[in-house]
């Protein structure tokens, strides 16, 4: 029945295997086989999925200031904090579609500001897209069409481990294309992932992330046939850049990959825009397209859900007291960093990973992963199930075009995030 029978041989035949979708990164691989025996094991997975599916649930009791309590009491305490708050901040937001629907409903009731834990990265892409748009592609197109992969400022595999295995080194494709050539431009990390199964090594153009703005500008200038009065840009020989550009032009379907999360430089949105403009320019004559990598923890899911429910992606706010209630949007002022100092309550949500909230002075409610360990116990902590492991859900892939069901794989007594948020909302009614 399964595509990869060898994967099954590793496991004991008596163990029941379930196909699962892995939310540990934006590739959202759904070809995993997970056993639901006493100790979960994973086949077809990567290191990230191993960690995800085999995590324990150590801290299953709700608590207040570090002291265990029952769920009812914790929910009441959380509702009380939100009831007296005028400017609550809902941050973290590590959840999927159904969780985000509940978050939005509670935000509407409480006038909350919403920000995702990885917005700092996401916003770099959003700002570029809102300024000039972009041309992008999706994973199945990459798998079947790409004959050139250009990774800018990222090794891809640190954040998306199976990228090359699934989408670049695949033997089967629809159009009998050749194995793609790989170029790393300014990659930090593990470029050896770009060595093809038959030993073909990738082109690596070494450059620091901080030099990417200059390099992208040079590539754009050359794409417009401008003559550059220099032999090198940021230490990279012009001939080397010219060779990269010619390869992109010559490709039938070049895919340019970048990771907003890796572009840790000031005004990185301008570098993203440089990349998307290069793609737009070259698309006048040939097919070149972009593939932005996401950062994870449901970023793609919550921004999509937020957009259709409020009209805006995150870093938005429901203005409960204005004009009968409307959302507003501000990628700068509504950041967690800015709002930590202004909010009078923090609701921190992280269900996929045991990430704890940033420290602030406002009363803090934490709803999320049962393995969270706090250095400073929050006012209220409510552990909830992990989507895709403890309960079902729906999650968007990094390319936003595909949403997949997540499964419930183990028996857990923990409530879902939505259960808890609905209970809080009911108390606020």
């Amino acid at each position: 029945m399964w595509q990869n029978p060898t994967a099954m041989n590793i496991l004991d035949d008596s163990v029941q295997l379930i196909s699962a979708t892995c939310p540990a990164c934006g590739l959202l691989c759904d070809d995993l086989l997970v056993s639901n025996s006493t100790r979960i094991s994973v086949k077809n997975g990567c290191q990230k999925s191993q960690i995800f599916f085999t995590q324990a649930a150590s801290n299953t009791s709700p608590s207040m200031f570090g002291v265990d309590c029952d769920l009812d009491l914790a929910v009441k305490a959380a509702a009380k904090i939100l009831h007296v708050s005028n400017h609550p901040l809902f941050a973290g937001l590590g959840t999927e579609v159904q969780g985000m629907r509940s978050v939005m409903a509670l935000a509407e009731k409480t006038g909350a500001t919403l920000d995702h834990m990885h917005s700092e990265s996401t916003v770099r892409n959003t700002l570029a897209m809102q300024n000039s748009g972009w041309q992008t592609t999706t994973l199945t197109e990459v798998k079947n069409r790409a004959d050139l992969i250009v990774a800018i400022g990222t090794d891809i595999v640190t954040s998306h481990p199976r990228f090359f295995e699934k989408l670049v080194w695949n033997a089967d494709n629809l159009f009998n294309k050749t194995t793609p050539e790989v170029i790393f431009l300014g990659a930090t990390g593990n470029t050896s992932a770009g060595i093809s199964p038959d030993g073909h090594t990738p082109t690596v153009v070494a450059a620091e992330t901080q030099d990417l703005p200059a390099i992208m500008s040079a590539l754009n200038a050359m794409a417009h046939n401008k003559k550059l009065d220099a032999h090198e840009i940021a230490g990279v020989r012009l001939t080397e850049l010219k060779a990269v550009l010619e390869k992109i032009k010559a490709a039938k379907y070049a895919v340019i990959v970048w990771s907003a999360g890796c572009l840790k430089i000031t005004h990185a949105e301008l570098t993203v825009q440089s990349i998307t403009q290069l793609i737009a320019t070259l698309n006048e004559n040939t097919r070149v397209t972009g593939l932005p990598l996401n950062s994870g923890d449901g970023d793609s899911s919550i921004n999509n859900t937020s957009a259709w429910l409020s009209g805006y992606p995150t870093r938005n706010r429901f203005n409960v007291h204005q004009r009968g209630g409307e959302f507003s949007y501000d990628t700068y002022h509504f950041s967690t960093q800015q709002q930590l100092n202004n909010c009078d309550a923090l609701l921190w949500i992280s269900t996929f990973n045991a990430y704890t909230p940033p420290s602030g002075v406002a009363p803090t409610i934490v709803i999320g992963h049962p393995d969270m360990q706090f250095t400073q116990a929050p006012d209220v902590f409510i552990p909830v199930g992990i989507p895709g492991l403890d309960h079902a859900g729906t999650m968007f892939r990094m390319d936003s075009s595909v949403a997949l069901p997540l499964k419930s794989l183990r028996k857990q007594a923990l409530p879902t995030l939505s259960d808890v948020l609905r209970q809080i909302e009911t108390l606020l009614a």
Binding site: L139, T140, E141, W308, G311, Y312, S401, V402, L404
Partner: protein
């Protein structure tokens, strides 16, 4: 519990009622015959002097799925636009909202507040159908459904190129309807979206796709045959090749011929009715197109009227949107290739009444409305939000019903455009009965919603009640009452009760054996499992709000 709606003036074309004063009785969400004298009437609403129609049905409106959400993300400035009226659009009244990218909540509310009780997402990419259903599930008040896009997906193109028989195509089409919970099938720029991925920039009806060596005509013939053979009520929904290009009316005429007598619906036909006459090589071919529709009883069309102001065009047609992106206003666009399934292009547009092309587009749409004789085969749409937001329908209805209002608006347009249009010579004014056909009875019949779009006994009690007013825009903007499944949900144009509609689907019989080949295809070439591609009905009903209605279709004909 019986509700009596008393003394309303009924416009119910399905049952041949043209302004007949008659009572309506509702029980359990349905219209019933007059109860016997022993049965108690629990509630009576006096509708004396009011116009009563079935709830309106928008058969083509981009309300769910990736494209509009991309538009929302790219255009946060649009959310502000509902707060002020556009000075540019002086032809539109304040009732003409220019909010092109409403949230799902707002979409449901604005529809029901105009008396619309159903809307259909016409471009549901199969791979993106889950998102479309998630968004539609969050759209309150109205019923909904989607047409699944085929004809640019590599699975279908491989079948066609390999010369597989019609049965194989039919099984795949039927399987797609089931897998995506759709009610119809749409083709967008047949073959063109796929060809664009191979760097082809144009594909005419008889031009070969550079890789598959099949033509758009081959694709349309195969899919329209499949839809007919399977007994699907909704004819194949066709977005013709060459959208927006001057001279494209010839492609449209050839497409009508290519239908070869089988049912075919040509969508947003205004965008496909352009000639190349005149100094600017852009002219109206509305007369030729209307004549062809009049002469081919198998053809229906919706107009895709443009109205002036800011909007955004969201289309599956990545090939043509790549070209249109040069005219983007504001200057930004998203063009995507998607999953060997289709693509999309999202390009903001500002239609200006003093722009020659835009002014003529406005006139061409109206010329088509007024020149197609049979209101059962022409439908009122703006291709929301591509021509204008759906909230401008009341304005459009007035343009159709009020000749002097129309001519006044026409006189304000770009003068060169006026010189190129015969609109002023078209004296026709739509009647309330004809409006009821094109917005209620017609769409219900076309889509196969047998118990909607009319007020006969047994119909679902989706009812819009309007105060009769000379200004039809004001009248249709703000119904006195709207009933959804028998419940009063709108009073004086405002929602008084929040409800959640159903999702209409078509589930024709087919040979499940098709899944064996599909499974192999997914395993070899796709990036998700076949099992996860399919949308289970429980995904739509799981939150207790949504539900699936399987609409009865014609018998299988093959």
């Amino acid at each position: 519990m019986i509700t009596q709606l008393k003394n309303g003036k009924l416009y119910d074309p399905t049952n041949g009622k043209d302004g007949v004063v008659q009572d309506i009785y509702i029980r359990g969400g349905r219209i019933i015959a007059k109860p016997s004298s022993t049965e108690e009437i629990s509630h009576t609403v006096d509708l004396s002097g009011k116009v009563v129609m079935a709830g309106a049905i928008d058969m083509h409106s981009h309300i769910g799925g990736g494209k509009i959400n991309i538009a929302r993300m790219m255009l946060p400035e649009f959310q502000e636009s509902r707060r002020y009226s556009e000075p540019e659009a002086h032809i539109c009244s304040p009732n003409c909202s220019h909010h092109a990218t409403p949230s799902t909540t707002e979409t449901g509310f604005r529809y029901i507040e105009m008396g619309y009780t159903a809307a259909f997402e016409p471009a549901m990419m199969p791979i993106n159908a889950r998102q479309a259903h998630l968004e539609m599930a969050d759209t309150p008040m109205i019923d909904k459904g989607g047409y699944a896009m085929l004809g640019n997906d590599d699975y279908f193109l491989r079948l066609l190129a390999a010369g597989k028989d019609q049965k194989a195509i039919n099984d795949y089409v039927a399987w797609t309807l089931h897998a995506t919970q759709a009610i119809g099938i749409k083709v967008v720029n047949a073959g063109g979206i796929s060809a664009f991925k191979f760097n082809q920039r144009k594909l005419d009806l008889d031009e070969a796709h550079s890789y598959y060596q099949v033509s758009a005509r081959d694709i349309l013939k195969s899919l329209s045959r499949a839809v007919y053979d399977l007994g699907i009520a909704k004819p194949l929904h066709v977005h013709c090749n060459n959208l927006g290009a001057a001279g494209n009316f010839e492609t449209t005429l050839k497409t009508i011929e290519a239908a070869d007598g089988l049912p075919m619906h040509l969508t947003h036909i205004q965008f496909h009715s352009y000639g190349t006459e005149g100094d600017r090589k852009f002219s109206s071919a509305a007369a030729e197109i209307a004549q062809a529709i009049n002469n081919h009883k198998n053809i229906s069309a919706d107009v895709g009227q443009i109205l002036f102001g800011q909007t955004v065009t969201a289309s599956g047609d990545s090939m043509m949107q790549q070209i249109n992106a040069k005219h983007a206003n504001p200057k930004k666009s998203v063009i995507m290739d998607i999953e060997c399934d289709a693509g999309c292009g999202v390009v903001p547009f500002k239609y200006r009444d003093q722009n020659f092309v835009n002014a003529l587009q406005w006139a061409i749409g109206l010329e088509i409305f007024l020149s197609v004789n049979d209101p059962w085969r022409i439908f009122l749409t703006t291709d929301h939000p591509n021509g204008a937001p759906f909230t401008s329908y009341p304005h459009l209805i007035r343009l159709l019903m009020d000749k002097s209002f129309r001519n006044e608006a026409f006189a304000k347009l770009n003068l060169d455009a006026q010189a190129m249009s015969n609109l002023k010579s078209l004296a026709r004014e739509y009647s309330l009965y004809e409006i009821a056909i094109m917005t209620r009875a017609g769409p219900a019949k076309l889509i196969g919603m047998h118990d909607r779009g009319h007020l006969g006994v047994g119909a679902g009690a989706d009812i819009a009640v309007y105060n009769e007013q000379e200004d039809r825009e004001v009248m249709f903007s703000k119904p006195a009452y709207v009933f959804k499944d028998g419940e009063m949900v709108v009073q004086a144009g405002k929602v008084v009760k929040v409800t959640w509609g159903a999702t209409y689907t078509a589930k024709p019989e087919f040979d499940i054996g098709v899944e064996q080949d599909l499974k192999q295809y997914f395993d070899r070439y796709h990036t998700i499992q076949l099992a996860n591609f399919k949308i289970d009905a429980t995904e739509i009903s799981q939150d207790g709000r949504g539900r699936i209605i399987v609409s009865k279709q014609h018998p299988i004909r093959s």
